[in-house]
């Protein structure tokens, strides 16, 4: 049987190399195709100007409206989601620690929400807008994206907080801390890198999503100056401008895709680096 075991070992080795290599090649091909198409149009004009003569027909100008719009939108949504998700994650892991059944339900619901496609959030945001009587705007987009990334953020924080050794919490309690003090003075510090990772993860998901902003933000050539104005975003800049018959407009779409990809790459790398630092400094 020895030959079989050797063969098996060999086979899996080859399979492993093959699948790893295909993954890497796939990533490189995607990046390369986007970058080849888009990088040539990444000029100073592209990133420093808004489109001139309409984003769909105008040949001049750049995508500054979409870059700034996307940053506004994602930062706003991340902030809004953080305000709700940090207290929830802390409460789940400290105040509600002994309510196992309730926690089970909350985690299940959050996982379900995580799994719902973003177009459903987009539709929900649209309904909510009509109900609240607000028009398509930066604010409507922020609310929709915040709802969409909330479960991601809570669960990502929750996973880190769940792994905090119970002995650490016990010693904090034994010093006479209230639960809220344990949450904000100990848990928060202990899991800070994980919390930042969760925020970055949610930011990345929020900035790249088309469907949740499709009906809620509108689209404009201008940079919004208030929450109630419409805004452009990078994913929609790709989506709308790619459909234009005018080559210069299409080029703006590719440039937007490159910028979006770069932002996501930077976020992924930052998340990775943080994760590594995190492992180095915690011993418990």
């Amino acid at each position: 049987m020895m030959w079989w075991r050797k063969f098996e070992e060999r086979l899996f080795y080859v399979l492993m190399i093959f699948s790893t290599a295909s993954l890497v090649i796939l990533l490189l091909v995607i990046l390369l195709s986007i970058f080849l198409k888009g990088v040539p149009y990444l000029s100073w004009e592209m990133v420093s100007q808004t489109p001139k003569g309409g984003y769909y027909f105008g040949r001049e100008g750049g995508i500054l409206n979409a870059i700034v719009g996307s940053l506004y939108l994602s930062a706003g949504a991340v902030f809004l989601a953080l305000v709700f998700s940090l207290p929830l994650a802390l409460a789940m892991n400290i105040h509600m620690r002994t309510y196992k059944r309730t926690l089970h339900v909350i985690r299940f619901v959050l996982d379900l929400l995580w799994g719902i496609p973003s177009i459903v959030y987009g539709a929900f945001g649209f309904t909510l807008m009509i109900y609240l009587g607000i028009k398509a705007s930066l604010l409507a987009g922020i609310i929709t994206v915040a709802i969409f990334i909330l479960p991601i953020m809570v669960r990502a924080m929750d996973e880190v907080m769940k792994n905090v050794p119970v002995t650490l919490l016990e010693s904090a309690f034994s010093l006479g801390s209230t639960r809220t003090e344990v949450a904000f003075k100990v848990m928060l510090r202990q899991t800070l890198p994980g919390i930042i990772t969760a925020v970055l993860l949610a930011f990345g998901r929020g900035i790249g999503d088309v469907a949740s902003v499709l009906f809620t933000t509108g689209y404009t050539d201008n940079i919004p100056t208030s929450l109630f104005q419409q805004t452009a975003t990078l994913p929609l800049a790709v989506f709308f401008q790619l459909g234009s018959p005018i080559p210069e407009v299409q080029n703006r779409a590719y440039a937007a895709a490159v910028i979006l990809t770069l932002i996501i790459l930077i976020i992924s790398i930052a998340t990775r680096l943080l994760g590594r630092g995190y492992n180095k400094t915690r011993i418990n």
Binding site: R97, T98, K100, S171, F173, E181, K185, Q190
Partner: protein
């Protein structure tokens, strides 16, 4: 007979259906080292966590009986847990420094009590680090993260941190089991030193350690208190068969 600091009366504790502490009655004498002995799994840690109600962090724990301390029943549902926990410092098996600096760890409990400014905190931090016999080793790096200390130093830091809350009782659950012999000895000597001002309850599985520092001994087996009494009598004239077997090394 000395004054007793804590009276445990008819304490029963269950995890789910499992009966962990069985009708436990103990009088813990004031300003002495009470050592709780017993093979692992007999409920020593659970007993300690019941004293400061850390068992409340487990959803499956149910208890009955009473633990009297300064006229209050620790097990009463309306007991102010923050108050009783501040009266009892806890040292656990492995040191658990808080995720902050050495200074921050000792200052933590002081800040909870409302002492704020660094100029008020600093002399107190020094005082408690001295009480835990750690000051000389850390005085030049108080702002380093606490996890940079060796395990033995971390345990002394946890002691200082506990003392800073100004407790009357120190609960120590096998505090030296993760330590090298020298650090273990330092902690041990510190307990003998501290019992002038504090009542100490020490769980240990090291018989020699118990013989060295115990004033009063409680021997537990499978959730029962088999025998308890002053250390002299306990070690020299145990009355129960189980105790004799244990002292003879039958369970190790």
């Amino acid at each position: 007979m000395e004054k007793s600091k804590i009276s445990i009366r008819d304490l029963n504790l269950y995890f789910e259906k499992q009966h962990i502490l069985k009708n436990v009655n103990i009088e813990i004498p004031e300003n002495q080292v009470t050592v709780i002995l017993g093979p692992s799994g007999c409920g020593k840690t659970t007993l300690m966590k019941t004293l400061n109600r850390l068992v409340d962090l487990h959803d499956n724990a149910r208890f009955s009986g009473s633990i009297l301390f300064e006229g209050i029943d620790i097990l009463h549902p309306a007991t102010d847990l923050v108050h009783i926990r501040q009266k009892m410092g806890l040292l656990s098996q492995r040191p658990t420094p808080l995720p902050m600096s050495i200074f921050g760890n000792v200052a933590y409990g002081l800040k909870l009590k409302g002492i704020r400014h660094k100029k008020n905190l600093a002399p107190l931090v020094e005082k408690y680090l001295r009480e835990a016999n750690l000051w000389e080793e850390v005085k030049d790096r108080l702002n380093d993260p606490a996890i940079r200390l060796s395990i033995g130093q971390q345990q002394r830091l946890c002691l200082a941190r506990g003392l800073a809350v100004n407790p009357e009782i120190i609960l120590a659950d096998e505090p030296t089991s993760a330590l090298d012999p020298i650090s273990a000895r330092i902690i041990e000597n510190q307990f003998v030193e501290l019992k002038k001002d504090y009542t100490i309850v020490l769980v240990t599985h090291v018989l020699r350690q118990a013989r060295r520092i115990a004033d009063y001994v409680v021997f537990m087996y499978l959730g029962d208190v088999v025998e308890q009494g002053p250390a002299e009598a306990f070690f020299n004239n145990p009355t129960q068969e189980k105790t004799k077997e244990y002292l003879g090394g039958a369970f190790n």
